[in-house]
Symmetry: none
Subunit: 200 residues, 4 copies
DNA sequence: TATGAATGAGTGTTCATTCAT
DNA sequence: GATGAATGAACACTCATTCAT
């Protein structure tokens, strides 16, 4: 009696492995974490792991790609209802939360990996485009509402805001200042000044 | 027959090794570069290398610590003569130059390493304090000159500016936008808005 | 609910597996081919395969044993009708055909395996005795007909002819000379001289 | 005080490793023998072995290439002094000796490997050309002396003789008839008939 | 009967570090 | 001081075989 393969099993196993890998990568870094560690963390054998991922590099890529923000619609709705600053500050909060949970080193690892691996970089660019585009869209809307400086280039401003969030997050992680609210406050203070309409 | 250790030779050898290590680490990352590669790049034997550094970790720490900006006095003088923005933009230019030369991944590596290694972190904090302190000092002076917004907290503003430089640098490296002048322009646009006195 | 084992199904499955294994072994060799490859080639699951063969070694043995020539009666009839040389040349042709189809490496594998595995060797000896015996029988008949040299020892001559076919086949495969007719011509030229009656 | 690297050490180590590998390959075959076995047999660590050979494939290739007969001049001299048959029989004896020492399976392995690996095949062809060329040269000389059939094509005859030696060797190894003198006798009986001048 | 996910010992290979010379 | 051969534990990955379903 042929048994139908459980199509969910594969997805479950991949998640189980990725969760374990995430934990290991966070603790030890992509290239210091071993497959044996990941297997142990996932309570799975090496053979089983390789049924779901062809190589360590594939797991690294999957982890890196998983790491995109997807506030999406919520972000745009908040921007409309409560203003751009409020929406940005929420997006920043979500991001800083990750740092507080120990993701700082992982994010640095992902950047390093992407900078050295053209293929990974290309695939990450696609997923990381999204939040910047959302920022730009919200900026344009806020400019239409005269909420912020209309002379700002929306795309560049979006890039700058995104870079600032990442920069502040990494810097505070480096300084072992892990309170996300303090980071949000710093970011808001910056964003307000940066975005506010110029005098006369 | 006992030979007195020549302190100059030692310093020369260490430099030779660190230069080689820097090249290797840039290319391949701390944990992917091998000691054999470093030895080959430095034209030195493994045995000789270990006379000057006790372990790979020690070389990594030395490289990380080496990586501090030391514009120092020049920065303050420029700030006084040409204004804070001009001085910041020069500091940013120096920094972005490094990214253009392929230091992006190395900087990400250093951050990742520091975030995972308390001891390294502590020692790096000391050397990285300097530029932020200089920024803060220059900010205070500019406030006294009424050149910038006097309501800004100098320390926080310095941190924000520093984080923004790093964030913009990493982000542009990630986007493979390697023109340092474009990065400087983005930073200046940001800094002007961020620092400029608020309307009434 | 107990199901009687269907002996025909079993035979069919064994054949299906052996055909797949043969293809894999030809391509990759006994010890480089994997059970997974064989399963894929046979469109069968690993579990099912192990129902019909207890181990990889058993499959190897079965493949090796399968590889016997069975021209049998046809050979003797041809020898009587058209002469020994013609019959031998046909036998050689059949054999060389296999080489042309890529069996050379497999035959070398079988020899290597048999030389290292006493048990396999013993069982192969039984099946490989047959063609040599047929050769010897045909030689004796040809001697009775004064078609060939009567002073030849039939058994030794049969062995020599068999060894020559194998030697020529392997050698030509090694030289990547895959035309079977050229091999047959070489063999016939040899057989004629070897077998022909000596000048007084 | 720089130590000059011993240029002989490398050669000695390579020999030591190849000797060990030969023993292991003979016993177990190219793909069943493990690097750990070879290391143990050579009394050397894995790291040391990989200083001298880049991979297992490289060792296999080296072993295969080592396996050429180099009777060379001796063969031609014997052919001139004692006749072609005597020279061939000595060449065959040398070859059969190897089989008696357990090289049969190794030779089969080499053939199988060469048949599957184009690159190895190409390099082996070069070294295996030599004995066949020597055979052909001696055959031409013997034809000039009217010692053997002048109508034989020297190149083809040389190929046939070489193939026959290999065929007889493998066949007798397979039959577990390891007496080299019996093999030589079989080969001589064959060679005499094959080469002798035809009646009118 | 058949499936295919799972096992885990084993594979070829690497590399930080040591030490006899 | 300097060399580079050597170590051997560790690494990423494989594969014959098993067994719950």
């Amino acid at each position: 009696m042929a048994r139908l393969p459980d199509p969910l099993l594969a997805a479950r196993r991949r998640r189980q492995i990725l969760d374990a890998a995430l934990a290991c990568f966070r603790r030890r870094g992509f290239h210091q974490a071993t497959m044996a560690e990941i297997c142990a963390e996932a309570n799975i054998s090496a053979g089983a792991l390789y049924r779901y991922f062809a190589s360590k590099a594939e797991i690294i890529a999957a982890i890196a790609e998983d790491h995109h923000d997807d506030g999406d619609l919520a972000f745009l709705r908040t921007a409309e209802a409560d203003g751009l600053i409020a929406a940005l500050s929420q997006a920043a909060r979500d991001f800083f939360q990750k740092f507080a949970e120990g993701d700082g080193a992982l994010i640095a690892d992902i950047i390093a990996e992407a900078l050295r691996d053209e293929a990974l970089s290309a695939s990450l660019l696609k997923t990381s485009e999204r939040p910047v585009k959302l920022f730009a869209q919200a900026i344009r809307a806020a400019q239409a509402r005269r909420e912020i400086d209309v002379t700002l280039d929306p795309k560049e401003a979006a890039e700058t805001l995104y870079a600032a969030i990442e920069g502040i997050g990494l810097r505070r992680a480096f300084l072992r200042q892990s309170d996300p609210e303090a980071a949000v406050a710093q970011f808001c203070s910056f964003a307000e000044r940066y975005l506010s309409p110029r005098h006369e």
